[in-house]
């Protein structure tokens, strides 16, 4: 099976090389692609030097557009399975390898969940602030209700998917809240979506601070996005 591991990255010069070598080590035989989402630092140059394919978006478009770039590329090049992990080093490639296995065993989309259970006692538990956890819970509740399938980590960007799922997302992919909405989209389109317990690491570099007002805005936006998602016509296989 032709596999592609892609890494969406926006100004991740501190971690990108480590992420690429981690992916190369744990997913042998896969091509590695970095979608550089308009970085202004050396992310693209370092990724290229590390031997990855680099797709550089001319300006920052948001994580949704970056994911979709990889899906469009993968479909065009005939990749059958696509694994994705964040460029900031939070996602161990060994865990992505397990998601890829899940897809090889029949899932259309496998999503790594930080909150579905402890899987590997060697890696310290993923830490998060109370507010973030609360937000996560709420997202999970909303997505689980709208899809009638239990999800525990709806904002996870650690995923693996097959051609069927790639086609769905290449056609339409949320630019606003990609991770959350795509779960609903996939379930509604009749895809087999599996959540797999994984470990993630705390961020080493970069910031991920989200204030209370922003959180409230995100929650409100998610609500609207999911509501509209429920009203959208179902996407069918073409």
């Amino acid at each position: 099976m032709k596999k592609l591991i892609f890494i969406p990255a926006w100004n991740e010069e501190n971690s990108i090389e480590a992420v690429i070598s981690d992916a190369r080590e744990h997913v042998p035989g896969a091509d590695i692609m970095v979608v550089d989402d308009g970085s202004t630092d050396r992310t693209a140059a370092l990724a290229r030097r590390a031997g990855a394919l680099v797709a550089s978006l001319p300006f920052n478009q948001g994580v949704g557009a970056a994911h979709q770039t990889a899906y469009i590329f993968a479909l065009g090049q005939g990749y059958e399975i696509c694994g994705q992990l964040d460029g900031d080093g939070q996602h161990p490639a060994s865990e992505v390898a397990r998601l890829i296995e899940e897809v090889e065993h029949g899932a259309d989309l496998a999503v790594g969940s930080r909150f579905a259970g402890n899987v590997n006692p060697d890696i310290p538990e993923y830490r998060s602030t109370f507010a973030r956890r609360l937000g996560q819970r709420l997202f999970s509740l909303l997505v689980s209700t709208s899809t009638r399938q239990r999800f525990t980590d709806t904002t996870s960007g650690m995923r693996a998917l097959n051609e069927k799922a790639m086609r769905l997302f290449a056609d339409r992919y949320s630019s606003e809240f990609a991770e959350v909405e795509s779960l609903q989209q996939a379930v509604r389109a009749g895809l087999l979506v599996r959540e797999v317990p994984v470990h993630m690491l705390a961020r080493e570099h970069g910031r991920s601070f989200i204030g209370p007002l922003t959180s409230a805005y995100y929650i409100f936006k998610t609500l609207i996005v999911l509501l509209i998602g429920q009203l959208r016509p179902k996407q069918v296989e073409s």
Binding site: M33, L53, A55, L57, P58, F59, I72, S175
Partner: protein
């Protein structure tokens, strides 16, 4: 019933001649501005037509107050200025919504272009590497 309602709403507040002259001048100035924007390539014809129609509407309303009174009567309001304001507001609302739709479409098109450019970049690079190997 409808006749009863209509009888009660004969417009009583009308535009003063002063307001009409001012309105006509503004409408003409507005249309000159639109033409100038098109002339200087600041506005695409496609988007100017609707603004131009709005200018003509303003001018007509100023020249023929009967039209505004008829409008107020049809809406069932006794004040011509209120009829004018609410219709203007609705038109502007519809226009700005229309622009949001256009902006959304263009933003999607820009994303697609950016993605395609990024993908083409990979393929070119791969081609260059192959060329070097030979």
């Amino acid at each position: 019933m409808i006749w009863l309602l209509a009888a009660d709403t004969e417009p009583v507040v009308r535009l003063t001649p002063q307001a009409r002259i001012l309105g006509a001048i503004l409408a003409l100035a507005f249309m000159v501005l639109i033409l100038d924007l098109i002339r200087r390539d600041k506005l695409l014809e496609r988007y100017s037509i609707v603004w131009f129609l709005l200018g003509i509407g303003m001018l007509l309303g100023a020249i023929f107050p009967v039209a505004l009174e008829w409008l107020a009567k049809a809406m069932g309001v006794r004040d011509v200025t209120i009829a004018l304001f609410s219709v203007t507001l609705l038109i502007l609302l519809a226009l700005s919504l229309n622009f949001s739709v256009i902006a959304s479409r263009q933003s999607k098109q820009i994303t697609r272009l950016a993605q395609q450019q990024a993908i083409d970049g990979i393929e070119e690079e791969a081609g260059a590497v192959e060329g070097r190997d030979r």
